[in-house]
Symmetry: C2
Subunit: 208 residues, 2 copies
């Protein structure tokens, strides 16, 4: 099962993401009034990433869409990818145009609504024919950390819950082997291992 | 031109959105440390909405996708819809499961990358075949306010920049006629004129 998953990742890894949590103060996000001053990933004693619980209140950067119906019935990342960056790294990006030490990017996958779908997986809704989010199908993180990942290309490590409609997100995650994600990112992503070419929000906000 | 745009909206309006700005304090968003305590829409003396400048730092709620290639070459909303809710209304939603007075929802449209596209508008990227964001193509807002919009169904009013690749967003926006957006929302949206059925993030966070 794990092997199949990794093979899929090897075959066609993507945008991915990085994750984190605040060690200093729980992030309340969304204008609750108290934001952590610095977002940081947390790890278990044996080095596994502790899944943050507030990535949906990070800064949204974009949504690549790879429907199963356009990918032989099984997209490498099924199907709609909602991608976020942690707020501290967003501020740094706006100021410097670079991804800081500790940058966390989250990618949450969701399936497209399938009732009445065409062969390509699209459905007809009142706003037109296309793809509309249904249930979640995966959660992934990418984290840039030169101290923790000195040997990873670009110092980025990648984590994943695995992919399946309704998959349970684990509380902790082990880093994927470098070749599972990083090779693709290294040679195809346009800015520091991140697929900036697919994120107009990041492109417009790039500072420095 | 305006008539064409409204006709398109009438033919197939959608998810839409609501907008706002902070009158009390400029929103810095994204964990900058100082968030406004309450997000509010601002208006000109003659009642036009003043476009907020920070919707990309609101809370992301989902991305419907309606490619032109699947909609006769011209989707009602071209093509990838990034939808946000203001942080104050997000907090209220999590607590009560309702959209507060003053709720602002923003929908920003972007075109899919078209270089090398198939007939359906999808392209082959390293992560699979699908739709990947290119340049922005529109900005819309929906605002719920029973005092300002006493006669609108559900007290929701709708605003739009118009749709075109690279369209300039106006500094102020006039509310669209009720029938341009609201009729579709009234009869098709699943929760208080909002298309909750397409927003798993909202569905999972609904309180009350």
């Amino acid at each position: 099962m794990r092997k199949v998953f990794l093979t899929i990742l090897l075959a066609s890894p993507l945008i991915v993401t990085g994750c984190g949590n605040s060690q200093e103060q729980a992030s309340t996000g969304g204008g609750a009034g108290v934001e952590p001053t610095t977002h940081k990933a947390s790890y278990t004693a044996d080095g596994h990433l502790i899944r943050p619980d507030n990535w949906r209140e990070w800064i949204y950067i974009g949504t690549p869409v790879t429907p199963n119906g356009l990918n032989g019935g099984e997209a490498p990342f099924p199907e709609i990818h909602s991608v976020y960056i942690d707020p501290t790294s967003w501020k740094h990006w706006k100021k410097t145009g670079t991804f800081r030490e500790g940058t966390m990017i989250a990618k949450e996958l969701s399936m497209a609504i399938s009732e009445g779908a065409h062969e390509d997986g699209s459905t007809d809704q009142v706003s037109g024919r296309g793809y509309f989010q249904d249930i979640f199908s995966g959660l992934e993180f990418a984290i840039k950390d030169s101290v923790r990942y000195p040997d990873e290309p670009g110092n980025w490590a990648y984590y994943s819950s695995g992919h399946a409609p309704g998959v349970a997100y684990p509380d902790t995650m082990e880093a994927l082997p470098a070749q599972a994600c990083n090779t693709c990112h290294e040679f195809n992503a346009s800015d520091d291992w991140v697929f900036l070419q697919f994120y107009p929000v990041l492109k417009e906000a790039k500072g420095g």
